[in-house]
Subunit: 333 residues, 2 copies
């Protein structure tokens, strides 16, 4: 029972889409000797793709050739345009893991991934990464242990790609990098066991570094950023204009992080505070590390006979690790 | 598939042993409306026990009368004397959850609990609480996501019962309370992404409040504490003598907490830091809250057909919560 679990052969991995996340998975697989990359799928002309590894680069049209040759496919497309179509297509052929993060459409996506996975006799593991993903896990864990608790999520300090892109759409802007920053006083209040209702403005601030074109109207750009609905209007936003050189030198990395903090009382005035926080030098490299661990788990659950839609909440933690069960008891417990 | 999961009737709970932990479970069950306490087992004469709830108090000799009337029994005895015997006895009759925390004997205990649970057609969920338990979960999660990471565990600030008891054994000591305190500089170094090798002394300090008998030799007591092997000799220890009144007024609570921090690189110089921390006003109330969530999960896994020894690493997070699967996707993901 508490015996050693060994995998006979390496888990065969495919990457679907070769952007930041796909490249992250390619690089992080080297830290997981129980897995091996067997191919990279792309919608582009494979001959135009330069990859670090020497595995075949396959056009997605030829995906059927790879049925039964892949244990887990990591879907590295975007949630808005790519995954709603690519997701079910691949889930009908392979076990998949993806980072689908459009909260409003999570149930709809779950239904369509489930149908495809049941049809394909596979598992479709979705919304994996750190938020959704590890942070979802922590929110559920806190709510399970402290049912009457209040749970707060703070993001940052880190680069938000969506907000950076929104600034780049403004006329006269050449480049932009937007950092989301949690308000330290708000974090401290929760850590101290308070349970306030925060406004959007009270939880996060936004810091924007902007490179403009020659002769651009900077005060007009700053006004457009600060009043942009949804993205900036509800926040205290700081805009700093910098040179293209400074952007390249100081803002080319993609750090991120955040915290989930839960506060609950177990009896009158007896506070219990649970905090989970991430401080990440590279968002894509960390996200791909999380995907890989859940890819391992997905394949193991599939070998155990599980099928269909899954998310973080279905995964027994032991399946995430390459450690055997004996060692978990001896070294981790 | 992603349908609503409902429990038809409440989960029937028994408490085994009515100390701090048993009382904690009794009080925390009120926050979990899907569970109901049906009886409390004790080795004492039931008529001598005053409990808050009105359920039957049953002598452990009459345990067989309760077969098939209990879905989950929380074993609240100590790891040293009680659980090695009580554990298998109860696991052969009921699904059990316990907080067994003697690391050196974890495998041996796992084997004996597994045999009893297989014999009894039950699940024996062991080493549940916050350490072992939630902290074990975090250590495994960090090692899974960042296989090359280094993981540190810090405890405190909080009362260590074992160390307080050790001081009380010294001649001339009337009462004592020992706080374990993490060294802030050590925590900060790890948070900043360093991965040092710490000595015992560099990670924690020990702070002791001591009430002495009249005429006791305080300098001798202080010396005996500070040089006590295993407990204090390897630490920087501070001893403060106080009055019995001050002890009662300022040190009657049992706060605790701690942190698990993992530091890993995903590529050269790219640091990723994961931290999980607890700040607890009441150690027993929090520990019992954790046990209750894992009790719910244990019963659900049993209904799914699982049997035998289990620990935190076997539990899909969705089973810990009374939320249905739809709501996990909609509200938590």
């Amino acid at each position: 029972m508490v015996g050693t679990k060994t995998t006979e052969r390496k888990i065969r991995v495919a990457i679907v889409g070769y952007g930041n996340l796909g490249k992250g998975i390619e690089s992080q697989l080297s830290k997981n000797p129980d897995m091996e990359l067997v191919c990279i799928f792309t919608r582009r002309d494979p001959s135009t793709l330069e990859t670090k590894s020497s595995v075949p680069i396959v056009n997605t049209l030829d995906v059927y050739d790879w049925k039964n040759k892949i244990d887990i496919a990591f879907l590295c497309g975007g949630s808005k345009e790519d995954l709603p179509i690519q997701g079910p297509d691949f889930a009908s052929l392979f076990n998949t893991v993806c980072s689908f993060d459009t909260h409003a459409k999570a149930l709809q996506y779950a239904e369509s991934m489930n149908k495809a996975a049941i049809f394909g006799d596979t598992i479709a593991m979705t919304s994996i990464g750190w938020d959704p993903g590890l942070f979802s896990h922590m929110r559920l864990l806190i709510k399970s242990v402290l049912p009457n608790s209040k749970v707060y999520t703070f993001w940052g300090k880190g680069v938000s790609q969506g907000h950076s892109d929104a600034i780049r759409q403004i006329k006269g802007v050449k480049d932009a990098r937007q950092y989301t920053i949690p308000v330290e006083q708000a974090v401290q209040r929760v850590r101290n066991g308070e349970t306030p209702e925060f406004t959007t403005r009270e939880k996060h601030t936004r810091l924007c570094y902007v490179v403009t074109e020659e002769g651009a109207n900077r005060s007009e750009i700053e006004k457009q950023i600060k009043t942009m609905p949804d993205y900036f209007a509800d926040y205290n936003t700081t805009v700093i204009f910098i040179s293209a050189e400074e952007m390249l030198k100081n803002h080319s990395k993609l750090p991120h992080g955040g915290k989930v903090i839960g506060v609950g009382e177990t009896s009158d005035g007896v506070k219990q505070v649970i905090e989970f926080s991430l401080n990440l030098d590279s968002n894509p490299e960390f996200t791909s590390s999380v995907l890989i661990a859940y890819g391992r788990a997905t394949y193991r659950m599939w070998k155990d006979g599980e099928r269909g839609y899954k998310n973080f909440s279905d995964v027994p933690p032991k399946y995430l690790s390459s450690m055997n069960y004996h060692d978990i008891i001896k070294q981790i417990l």
